[in-house]
């Protein structure tokens, strides 16, 4: 609020730099507080897990398990974070994962082996994203409605393809990727993919013009347009990106579950949105954090893991999950405002 009154007609910019805490440090500090809060929540969870189940929780296999279980929804969440940062929403992610996973596991597709499955999953994901993007960017549809329509149609199409049947994968190279033998230095390949998507996502959002445009469109679409950004094309790309992430996630799910089913990806949209929000991404757009989203996913997966290890039942799990969402957001807001 300090008013810096510049001397009149001093056009040369020779004025001394301003004293006081540079605002960038304050800002960086706030971002750190957010990340630290999430890490703190995760640490508390690890503590709880370690105390209640010291043997089965604090175990390499369990770490591998938690990270593997987080991979599928994690990849979806990275894509979702981009869409939310741009001020949009993608309700169709779960349905796209389902459609891509069943399309990629039909008998016909499986004949083309590993790359046939991978290719189909990615193409179906991107294709659905393209439809979303075109409807939103050029059809001027509200993202909520367009992706809701995609949710319904993709689920319907997935059901039509499968007839409700479970499509078991018989391509051994795909199945092998989910086995212990495929671990690289003890890291499951699924987790490596998740890590790669996270790193790439972070770089794209924070270090590229694409990321800047995304933030600009989400922060103020009109200002972005008047600044010369092609807002429509950017929106199209963003839903494509989300579809791509869904396609990758569908492939991971195929590897993980060894099958494709039309019920796959159930409520992924809500899990992904919740993780992004916990991670500090504004639902109104304009600000988002890939790392926060990923931490959100890890928090949820860890909670589920701890509950399962302690043999707590679904009802208790759900109650606690809701409570932790509220608590995490409240703690974050408090630390952010007192900082």
């Amino acid at each position: 609020m300090t008013q810096h009154v510049s001397p009149p007609r001093d056009g040369t910019g020779k004025a001394a730099p301003v004293d006081g805490p540079p605002a960038w440090r304050v800002r960086l500090g706030r971002a750190d507080v957010r990340t630290l809060t999430l890490l703190g929540v995760l640490a508390v969870l690890v503590l709880i897990g370690g105390i209640t189940q010291p043997d089965s929780f604090l175990d390499t296999r369990n770490l591998q398990l938690v990270l593997t279980q987080a991979s599928v929804i994690g990849v979806v969440t990275v894509g979702m974070t981009f869409v939310i940062v741009s001020g949009g929403i993608d309700l169709s992610v779960g349905a796209i994962v389902a459609l891509a996973s069943v399309w990629a596991t039909t008998v016909a597709t499986q004949e083309y082996g590993f790359f046939g499955i991978l290719f189909t999953a990615v193409v179906v994901g991107v294709g659905c994203g393209l439809v979303n993007g075109v409807l939103i960017a050029f059809g001027q549809m509200v993202p909520f409605i367009a992706t809701l329509a995609m949710l319904a149609s993709a689920r319907g199409l997935a059901l039509q393809i499968t007839d409700g049947r479970t499509q078991v994968v018989t391509v051994s190279s795909v199945l092998d990727l989910g086995e212990r033998d495929a671990y690289i230095l003890g890291i499951p390949p699924l987790v490596l993919v998740f890590a790669a998507v996270t790193v790439i996502g972070w770089l794209v959002l924070n270090r590229t013009t694409f990321g800047r445009r995304t933030v600009a469109v989400g922060g103020n679409a009109e200002a972005a347009r008047l600044a010369g950004i092609d807002v429509r094309r950017q929106r199209l790309y963003l839903y494509l990106l989300s579809g791509l992430c869904c396609g990758i996630a569908a492939f991971l799910l195929i590897v993980l579950a060894g099958s494709g089913q039309n019920t796959n990806g159930n409520l992924y949209e809500l899990d992904a949105i919740a993780a992004a929000i916990i991670g500090g991404t504004l639902l109104t757009g304009g600000r988002g954090h890939i790392l926060g989203s990923v931490l959100g996913v890890l928090i949820f997966t860890t909670i589920t893991n701890i509950f399962a290890l302690n043999n707590l039942q679904t009802d208790v799990q759900q109650i606690a999950k809701g409570a932790i969402i509220v608590a995490a957001v409240l703690v974050q807001r408090r630390t952010a405002s007192t900082h």
Partner: protein, 505 residues
């Protein structure tokens, strides 16, 4: 002074926000029936003070006396019960409700305690609107369908629907045309004649001279002058108090020789149905061309159409003789056009982002390779551009929302400077900019022109157009009625033109 205690007496009010002391022991006395003007730059504490008065903020220390009795304003309702009404600059009306519903929001006339008597509400609203000189506003219309000026009237009617003793008006004239401002002043005079006190906040010193009784000047959360006589205090003194130094409200000198050379921007027969008639104009490098006209004369629409943000029905925009693709902002930007729009916060700035990112957004390709941003180069370029415009603070990493209005405008100009734009379209460049900062902004604009930029300027403040522009086009109802070098015009003549439409002599 007065034998009886003042209507309102605030003393020693302090209020802090995290990191900021917004009010630091402010005193304010308001007499019944006076117009008390509150002056100060952005961030001086005016908004905080009136929010304390409205019950929206609770002060940490200090006392508030109302007709001599100490009171605590715990909530806006408490303030309203005493008879204090506030009309905020950003109108707090519900667009999807009717005028009558807005006026009576929260205190609807009811039958049996809960059945809203719509007809009674409409009747009393109509009476209020008539008293405010706007009987043409239909109480049944949706507020969202009204003009900004009419919405302000509705806001005022809402204040008057209570038994009001003191009205706070926060820059009420900002969105009004001269005749509407006249009407506003008539209403203020009526109110004070009835013994109602008005706390009036404005940037326009001439208004304060016209209707104000006394002036309190705020600076950095303190009242640096209290109860100055509004009519007789010299402008210089007021400005000096506000800024803490002596500033002349001056315009930069024009270059001695009129700009020569081929026009960089040519507009030929450009028109939009219902907004403005076919328009021709040319701007040469180094030239500032001003468009003067009333609200609704099509000024902003012309700028936005030239820029491609609106699609023209007819005509062409040419840059260096090459026509632009109509309706494409990107084509305009690529050709070297840049717009500083009227609503900076809504149309230009990314309020969550740093100055750097706001400045760099239109020129990202300059310091990126294959989409990869060189952040060092970006920061350096932003620093250079903002320094060139003496943007304060001299730290482009701060969030743009922490900047004052004038510096936010400089951030927008820096964006186009960095982009290397050659034609600058300025829409109300000093709206929301402090008096003290305006002169500096004028100097910046003139300097940019001197460096070879072509500038097309739109302003509702006639002296600004006359003082800054080289050539002026006078608009009336979407049509150019007169064109002349600025030095051949004066304010009266321009006002005659925009009112009458004929170049009366």
């Amino acid at each position: 002074m007065a034998p009886e205690p003042p209507l309102l007496s605030m003393s020693g009010i302090t209020k802090s926000f995290p990191g900021v002391r917004a009010l630091d022991g402010v005193d304010l006395d308001v007499q019944a029936g006076e117009v008390h003007c509150l002056l100060g730059q952005n961030g001086a504490g005016k908004s905080t003070l009136i929010k304390v008065l409205a019950g929206a903020h609770q002060p940490e220390t200090g006392t508030i006396r109302w007709r001599g009795e100490e009171v605590t304003l715990r909530s806006p309702i408490a303030a309203m019960r005493l008879g204090i009404a506030t009309i905020y600059q950003e109108l707090d009306l519900v667009e999807h409700l009717s005028v009558a519903e807005n006026v009576h929001l929260g205190h609807e006339p009811t039958a049996a305690g809960f059945v809203v008597r719509g007809r009674a509400a409409k009747a009393s609203t109509a009476a209020l609107l008539k008293r405010l000189g706007h009987p043409e506003v239909d109480p049944g219309r949706l507020v969202g369908d009204l003009s900004a000026a009419q919405q302000q009237i509705v806001s005022m009617a809402r204040a008057l629907s209570h038994d009001v003793r003191l009205i706070v008006m926060d820059e009420p004239s900002a969105a009004l045309d001269p005749d509407e401002v006249d009407n506003l002043f008539r209403i203020v005079a009526d109110l004070t004649a009835d013994g109602v006190a008005v706390v009036y906040i404005s940037h326009r010193l001439e208004e304060i001279r016209r209707i104000g009784d006394r002036v309190t000047v705020l600076k950095d959360g303190r009242a640096v002058a209290r109860g100055l006589p509004a009519e007789s205090t010299p402008t210089r003194e007021v400005v000096a108090l506000m800024t803490g130094r002596n500033v002349e409200y001056v315009f930069p000198e024009r270059p001695s020789a009129p700009p020569a050379g081929e026009p960089v921007l040519s507009v030929r027969g450009l028109a939009r149905q219902g907004e403005f008639a076919p328009l021709d104009l040319e701007v040469r490098p180094g030239e500032i061309v001003g468009l003067a006209g009333l609200v609704g004369s099509g000024r902003s629409e012309i700028l936005e159409t030239v820029y491609g943000a609106r699609k023209a029905n007819a005509g062409q925009v040419l840059v260096d003789g090459r026509p632009l693709r109509p309706g494409s902002v990107r084509a305009a930007v690529r050709a070297g056009l840049g717009l500083a729009p009227e609503e900076r916060k809504a149309q230009a700035l990314l309020m969550l982002e740093s100055v750097t990112r706001n400045v760099s957004v239109s020129a990202m390709s300059r310091f990126s390779r294959g989409g990869w941003i060189d952040r060092g180069a970006e920061l350096g370029a932003a620093r250079k551009a903002t320094r060139e415009l003496s943007l304060r603070p001299d730290n482009p990493s701060v969030p743009v929302r922490t900047l004052s209005g004038g510096n936010q405008q400089k951030a927008v100009l820096a964006r186009w400077l960095l982009r290397g734009c050659r034609v600058l379209l300025l829409d109300e460049p000093t709206r929301g900019v402090d008096v003290g900062a305006r002169a500096e902004l004028y100097a910046v604009i003139r300097r940019l022109a001197d460096e070879g930029l072509a500038v097309l300027l739109v302003s509702s403040e006639v002296p600004e157009v006359l003082g800054l522009a080289d050539r002026v086009l006078v608009l009336r109802e979407g049509r150019v009625v007169h064109e002349a070098p600025a030095r051949e015009l004066d304010e009266h003549r321009v006002l005659d033109l925009v009112m009458e439409g004929s170049p009366a002599s």
